[in-house]
Amino acid sequence: MKTIRFDQIRDAIAGLCQRANFELTADMRAALQAGVERETSPLAQNTLKRILQNADIAKERSLPMCQDTGLVIVFVDVGQDVHIEGGTLRDAINEGVRHGYKEGFLRASVTGDPIQRKNTGDNTPAVLHTEIVPGDALRLQLLAKGGGCENMSRFKMLTPADGRDGIVNFVVETAKLAGPNACPPIVVGVGIGGSFEYSAVLAKKSLLRKIGERSALQHVAELEADILKKVNESGIGPQGYGGKTTSLAVQIEVAACHVASLPVSVNIECHAHRHQEVTL
């Protein structure tokens, strides 16, 4: 049994919120840099260079890379031998978001009620996905998810007969509809299978993967590559200004599902792909 204190979790989350917003991850930088080399038009190259330059400035000045500092989503793997002391996990995470956003001068972008639409003022509450796992560690994976790209995400209940082609068409269509609104180059997170709601969780979870890391399942990795190629043939390019780099990666997670169903969720992520993790 390991005891983890409320304030340890709170402080870890506050730090992750800031680091995610200030520091673009090395895998994203490498993927953007590869885009600069792939592009032939000066406008597309300049656009990607500016995005990289923005990342430098954000890190150097501890400024958020984008003013939409996102809704916080945390995937927590709770070791079943962990005991949390001093308060609940949910409260610790929300306290962390509150501190992280306020002290980091990050914008509050959460409305408490989706219909009444009043800003909560401190970017809480976060969306939480918890899973109980073996062991005595607490793994916190945090995403700060922008609204512009999230808005371009889609779900569709395909039929098993739609098959692989149906999946490819739906994902490519979603990326094209997102177009410039999602601030390309985008990362396309896809969840296939599971159930209605679980496919969406998988799509979100796939975004936690390192860019360039393919699915361990051969047929899924091939599907990722095929979709990526098609999306990049769309011509949309960086920011929709035209070019070859519409998407940096397509990342698919799959799960078992009902014999009669083929749920597919597509979660669109922008180039300001902000995620960080820590294990306590």
Partner: protein
């Protein structure tokens, strides 16, 4: 701006944007804007629209001006502005034809516009500039001053006057009907997977 970027050839444009300068711009042109713009997004634009419907006088003169669709992150103590990149323009679609009709010269944002807005740009000789979404840190360095002009209760969404210095933008829709996004979508690419 720190690296070789600032040496890239760009057309500098002084604001307010003169009619003939606006008319000469073409899609894909990379420009740098110098001078004053107004900021506004969902709530400020909606309020101005309502005021016009009700026959009220606007708190700002739209004639010849540009509106930047932005809601910056909070400025740190002693700094001019926080991260300040564009938000999605399409949410302002319902208001823009009316504003353009009153002489608004154009706006700065990101993402698709409705056909009505594109038609209004052509009709009134307006320009849609794109700023790179998600580069709010970089763009903040091109903003020299910020002051609240109207609707202070809207906080970061209030109408501000911003002074730009070499603010980088790209012409997305020009006054002669050019549409950069549409052109990009038509130019299917052949690519090798990265």
């Amino acid at each position: 701006m720190k690296n070789e970027e600032c040496k890239m050839k760009k057309t500098e444009i002084n604001l307010p944007l003169a009619v003939d300068v606006a008319k000469a711009l073409r899609i894909g042109d990379e420009v740098e804007l110098n001078g004053y713009v107004y900021t506004g997004r969902d709530q400020a634009c909606a309020r101005m629209f309502e005021m016009l419907q009700g026959g009220e006088k606007l708190p700002i003169e739209l004639e010849g001006q540009l509106i930047y669709f932005v809601g910056p992150s909070p400025a740190k103590p002693g700094e001019v502005v926080g991260s300040a990149g564009p938000t999605t323009s399409g949410r302002m679609n319902p208001f823009l034809p009316k504003f353009l009709g009153l002489g608004l010269r154009g706006f700065i944002g990101k993402g698709y516009l409705s056909q009505e807005v594109k038609d209004a740009l052509v009709k009134h000789g307006g320009v849609y500039f794109g700023a790179i979404g998600g580069t709010g840190a970089l763009l903040s360095e091109c903003i020299e001053s910020v002051e609240v002009i109207a609707f202070p209760e809207l906080l970061s969404e209030a109408i501000h006057r911003m002074k730009f210095k070499r603010f980088p933008a790209v012409v997305l829709n020009d006054a002669s009907g050019g549409d950069l996004y549409a052109q990009a979508m038509k130019s299917e690419q052949t690519t090798e997977n990265p």
